[in-house]
């Protein structure tokens, strides 16, 4: 029983990491209506940035979160402005190929610049076990969990309480009507894509103390993030958050009770089943766009 409880706790910690990435993916899909196949590579770029800040300037990964978030926001905004924007009216397969191409290019660029070696930062404080009742959790994971909560809460406030947030929601729900209200939808798209990428920047800074970076790290995380997003109903960031926790728990439990190398099979199976049988997601958030 204790093992199960510890596993569920681990799962929630793991899930909150996926949550931050998945919320970004949801923002981009929910508002710009583009599935960003290069999302994982944004994470990879962010992690290398954190690594470089640490190595060159001695910044702690958590401190480098600020510049990396800004950097990723700019990266996302530029990609929206110069690539996705031009393809908004193109066929869907062209949009898919554009982000897939971007993903391939970024992975291989990293391979040229850094090689296939793993790089990590030295941040021992993040790997301290912290006792939580009778259980143990890594301090870095607690930070991630709190950050995920803060991110969702912060985005919620931004979306609900500010005029810009309202305009973003309006654009997501009815682009035509938003335009009639004087919203510059192209600018909204640039901001939204930037925000989605910035979430990954935050994730990069928090993940770096725990995981080493390599050119293909993004694929590893983002496939899971896609599972989460589909589970959460594709467009709802709250759905993405809870979906991430569920996948984290599934990951943790199936790794222990089934087989460590089959845990991905379990949640990919869930992914396929949800896609096919309940495309609005597990919680029915799918119809909304919040």
């Amino acid at each position: 029983m204790d093992v199960t409880a510890q596993l569920i706790l681990n799962g929630i910690m793991l899930g909150s990491m996926y949550a931050i990435i998945a919320v970004g993916l949801t923002l981009i899909f929910g508002i710009v209506r583009v599935v960003n196949f290069a999302h994982g590579e944004f994470l990879m770029v962010g992690m290398y940035a954190v690594y470089l800040f640490n190595k060159q300037m001695g910044l702690h990964p958590y401190v480098s979160a600020l510049p990396v978030v800004v950097l990723l926001f700019l990266l996302g905004a530029l990609i929206q402005r110069f690539i996705i924007q031009k393809l908004l009216n193109a066929d869907e397969h062209i949009q898919i190929f554009a982000t897939v191409g971007l993903s391939t290019a970024l992975i291989n660029l990293a391979l040229i610049l850094f090689g296939a070696d793993l790089y990590s930062v030295n941040a021992p404080a993040a790997r301290q076990p912290v006792p939580l009742g009778s259980f143990n959790v890594l301090s870095g994971h607690i930070v991630i969990f709190c950050a995920a909560l803060a991110l969702v809460a912060g985005l919620h406030m931004f979306m609900q309480r500010t005029a810009l947030g309202r305009a973003i929601r309006a654009t997501a729900q009815n682009r035509y009507a938003a335009q009639l209200m004087g919203v510059k939808v192209e600018r909204i798209y640039i901001i939204s894509f930037g925000l989605g990428a910035a979430c990954v920047g935050l994730a990069a800074a928090l993940i770096m103390p725990l995981y080493p970076v390599s050119p293909t790290i993004g694929t590893y995380f983002v496939l899971t993030a896609f599972v989460v997003v589909v589970l959460g109903g594709m467009r709802s960031m709250y759905g993405a958050f809870f979906g991430a926790l569920i996948i984290g728990i599934v990951d943790s439990l199936s790794g222990y009770y089934i087989a460590p190398d089959l845990k991905e099979v379990v949640y990919f199976a869930i992914f396929i089943l949800i896609l096919i049988f309940k495309p609005t997601g597990l919680f029915g958030f799918g119809r909304g766009t919040e």
Partner: protein, 595 residues
């Protein structure tokens, strides 16, 4: 003999000459390095050509196609290892496994749209790769599997590297021939139709899921053959390379770069990027690690921004025009159209009836207890204000919507009243419909659009073309027959909508606002065409806002408002009905006019 005589056609001899360079150039150079590059080109060209049948023709962007490549390789290698079976037989076993898996994946996934289909295929690829690693007793797990080294044609393993090239080239030719044959068959046209507009394809009687399954089965088998050969060529299999996502993406990107949905595109795309990457890898060695991927990715992004049609989509028409100036070029000879399908049955009998049809959308009642009969050989007009539920009624009559309650039955060839269970089933029973919001296959020419309808009763391409041409002449689209549908103005698109439906040679014709956007003269002509069709025994239901037209056209009129039938009868009586005037102009108007 018919095929041999085609050799004097410049499109054929130039293509063959160009293809033979794939053998001649490396044979002349003779270095193992160059032979390797050409084997790689043939392998990826064949993979990409096979992928294109699903990704291009059917528009289903699979990013998990290496599933079939890997299954082909593994099945073949395991059969050699355990049963000493020659790969020439093993590759067919691999293909059989792949086809079964393809159906298992395709059937549930084809209902997914765009990026979600792609994601699901990636997920399947990951699952299969992980399973192959997990069951290491059978597959060797992540450590991999070495193909037993038996040399000779029987084992597909050679010292003389040219032999590999012969086989790779043969596989490429096979893929190209299959791809070309599909392109020029009913299946090819249907796949394009399904890709462009699922609804319109269904209305033309196409069973969407079935044609997509055919495509994925053929594609999986071809991909699997190549996988089997490539495994023999490399003599080593590991899950990371046999079930590689990166390779799956590359195969798709070559097709896009060359031209999605074209026969030559995938090979051209491969020819453009593979040699650069392979040569760079050969010359620069490990320092070029990642360079080829960077080139692929960047070229892909640039292509989407600058030449979304790919090389063939952009330059193809110019090249074919040039080829057709060479000696031996063929002119298309139009054959006589096949005879029209005869409408059997007695005039005046009921051919379609609805009973208490009710359709709810959430809380909204779109059709409310509608009971209508259509008799053989009559023109029934349906009128009513905007939002009255006319199109919803049509969608139920043609099987596109299932009624919440109530029934629709259609008379079949045996004279029984039946309810088909799908929209394409309605079409095959002879219910032809147009869409109010036109649904052209944008990238097909006018004549090809009409052919999609004609294929329902004329499976041969030339018959379908001749029959389509007859319809084009009838509705006045003959002069525009080679124009791409997306370039037509709305009036012509409306007529194309009618033409595609007429080409299915329906016995019941449902027309949804086909007069809108037509000039006065064209409207008159359309009225005459519809009358002429009725006179051949076809029954017609027309929704129309053009009151002049519908009044003069209809034998009988049904008025719908807020989902209900509020009046029914001959045109003269109906328009003087007070309820009808209220529905159109408001109660006060009726009062003011003293009606």
């Amino acid at each position: 003999m018919r095929y041999l005589s085609e050799l004097t056609n410049p499109r054929v001899y130039v293509a063959l000459a160009a293809l033979s360079l794939l053998l001649i150039v490396p044979a002349l150079i003779g270095s193992a390095f160059w032979i390797h590059i050409f084997v790689t080109i043939c392998v990826f060209g064949a993979l990409s050509t096979a992928w294109n049948i699903v990704g291009g023709y059917a528009g289903q962007l699979s990013l998990g196609h290496t599933i079939f490549y890997g299954l082909g390789g593994y099945t073949t290698a395991l059969l050699i290892q355990h049963f000493g079976l020659t790969p020439w037989v093993g590759m067919f076993a691999g293909a059989a496994v792949s086809v079964v898996v393809a159906v298992g994946i395709g059937y549930p996934c084809f209902r997914l749209r765009g990026p979600f289909f792609s994601l699901a295929t990636i997920a399947f690829l990951e699952v299969i790769r992980l399973l192959v690693i997990h069951f290491n007793g059978l597959t060797g797990g992540s450590a991999g599997l070495i193909v037993p080294l038996q040399i000779g044609w029987e084992w597909m393993i050679f010292r003389e590297k040219m032999n590999y090239l012969y086989i790779a080239f043969g596989l490429l030719l096979l893929a190209l021939v299959v791809s070309l044959a599909i392109r020029n068959s009913r299946l090819g046209f249907y796949l394009t139709a399904v890709r462009e507009r699922e609804d319109a394809a269904q209305a033309a009687g196409v069973h969407n899921a079935q044609v997509k399954l055919y495509a994925v089965m053929i594609s999986a088998a071809l991909t699997s053959f190549v996988g089997a050969f490539h495994a023999m060529y490399m003599t080593f299999l590991e899950p990371a390379t046999m079930f590689s996502l990166a390779t799956a993406v590359e195969v798709a990107m070559f097709a896009l770069i060359g031209g999605l949905g074209t026969v030559a595109g995938p090979l051209l795309g491969t020819l453009l990027v593979v040699p650069i990457a392979e040569a760079a890898r050969g010359w620069l060695g490990a320092s070029a690690n990642g360079l080829h991927g960077l080139v692929y990715g960047s070229v892909l992004v640039l292509m989407t921004l600058t030449l979304p049609g790919g090389l063939v989509g952009t330059f193809g028409p110019r090249v074919t025009a040039w080829l057709d100036k060479l000696p031996g070029a063929r002119k298309r000879v139009d054959r006589d159209p096949p005879p029209l399908r005869k409408v059997a049955g007695t005039k005046g009998e009921v051919v379609l009836e609805t009973r208490n049809l009710k359709k709810l959308f959430g809380g909204l009642v779109a059709t409310d207890n509608v009971t209508v009969d259509l008799k053989r050989g009559e023109i029934l007009g349906i009128i009513g204000p905007n939002g009255a539920g006319k199109t919803t009624l049509f969608n139920q009559m043609s099987g596109f919507l299932k009624p919440t309650s109530g029934t629709i039955t259609v008379r079949n060839a045996k004279g029984e009243m039946v309810t088909p269970d799908s929209a394409d089933g309605f079409a095959r029973l002879g219910v032809g419909r147009t869409f109010q919001i036109v649904q052209p296959f944008g990238k097909l020419s006018v004549i090809e659009n009409i052919m999609i309808g004609a294929f329902l009763h004329h499976p041969h391409v030339e018959d379908a073309r001749a029959s389509a041409l007859r319809v084009a002449r009838l509705v006045g689209l003959e002069a525009l027959k080679d124009v791409e549908a997306r370039n037509l103005p709305i009036g012509d698109l409306k007529r194309l909508e009618v033409a595609r439906t007429l080409a299915t040679e329906p016995s019941i014709l449902l027309l949804d606002e086909v007069m809108a956007g037509q000039s006065q003269a064209d409207t008159q002509k359309m009225v005459e065409i519809i009358r002429a069709i009725r006179d051949t025994g076809v029954s017609v239901i027309a929704i129309e806002h053009n009151m002049h037209a519908i009044m003069s056209l209809s034998d009988r009129i049904v008025v719908v408002d807020s989902g209900k039938v509020i009046a029914e009868g001959d045109p003269k009586t109906v328009v003087t009905n007070r309820k009808v005037i209220e529905a159109y102009l408001g109660e006060d108007f009726a009062n003011a006019q003293g009606l």
